[in-house]
Amino acid sequence: MYAGPVGLAQQIHDYNVHIDVNDVFWMIRVPHDAVEVDFDNARASLRVRGLKVFDDHDLANSLTDGLGLPGDLGFNYPQIPGVFPTRASVSFDVEWNGIISAAQIHNTGQHFQGSFLETNATIEWSSDQPGFRFQAEPANPARNLISVLGNEKNGAFFM
């Protein structure tokens, strides 16, 4: 979330579930019925209420474990002060709906294969934490930059 245009220096909240103990990135188990998929019709939904997350303030702190970025060593990053994460909860409805393009992929370098659809998508979401809450605008298909659905196999299931 940004106080101004999307950009690291303007970011004031970063909600995520943190990387798990096995290094899986920002994935959290949810009830089976939180996700509904109708792949043949390019439709899917993800609905979760009151998910406990961390607010790392910004992506830089999220990915440096709260150390921030120095910003003065010749790298192309702004200086980001270190911030300790706080607790928050988020609720969201994400909808994938309608094919824009499709591809069959068999990627021997990354060991994954499957059917993939670029789709339209919308989101409505909110957050709540001590002293602050956020309510996103109503779902708006024009806000989608790129969204994808896939029916895939990877790793040991790759053939």
Binding site: I19, F25, A60, L63, D65, R133, E152, G155
Partner: protein, 140 residues
């Protein structure tokens, strides 16, 4: 993952553990029994995909995730799953929008923008225990 990061993460975990032990002195939020990391215990824990990137190299962590790129065609998609040894459905989004933030102490409101990179995985995976599991995961 580099050893520097492992040491930092271990330090943070240890610190969070000490904070939790301090109880109400610190505050209810930090004293919560919730773990410092996503808790995928109990029903089979997935492994990460081997690939990914380090967005803030040389600082920060290597993340096992391939962000969507709106400038690329669907045919050049990188693996959108965060879980390896996986067979099932995946979804990812890259959406920007706006909304209203409210200071709940004062009632003051502010227009804010957001970027939502979210998704899901639902299907079968081989867990860290080497066994086959089924699961539904949100990417948040």
């Amino acid at each position: 993952m580099n050893t520097t990061y492992i040491r930092r993460r271990a330090s943070r975990r240890a610190f969070l553990g000490n904070v939790a032990g301090a109880g109400t002195v610190i505050g209810a939020g930090l004293a919560s029994p919730n773990p410092a990391h996503a808790n995928n215990d109990g029903f089979g824990q997935p492994n990460p995909i081997p690939g990914g990137l380090a967005p803030f190299a040389p600082f920060g962590v290597f993340i096992h995730h391939n962000p969507l790129n709106a400038a690329s065609s669907i045919g050049s998609l990188n693996d959108p799953s965060q879980i390896t040894d996986f067979k099932g459905f995946v979804g990812l989004t890259h959406i920007r929008g706006g909304g209203t933030g409210t200071n709940t102490m004062t009632g003051a409101t502010q227009s804010l923008s957001y970027q939502a990179d979210m998704g899901f995985s639902q299907g079968e995976f081989i867990g860290t225990d080497g066994r086959h599991h089924h699961g539904t995961f949100a990417f948040v």
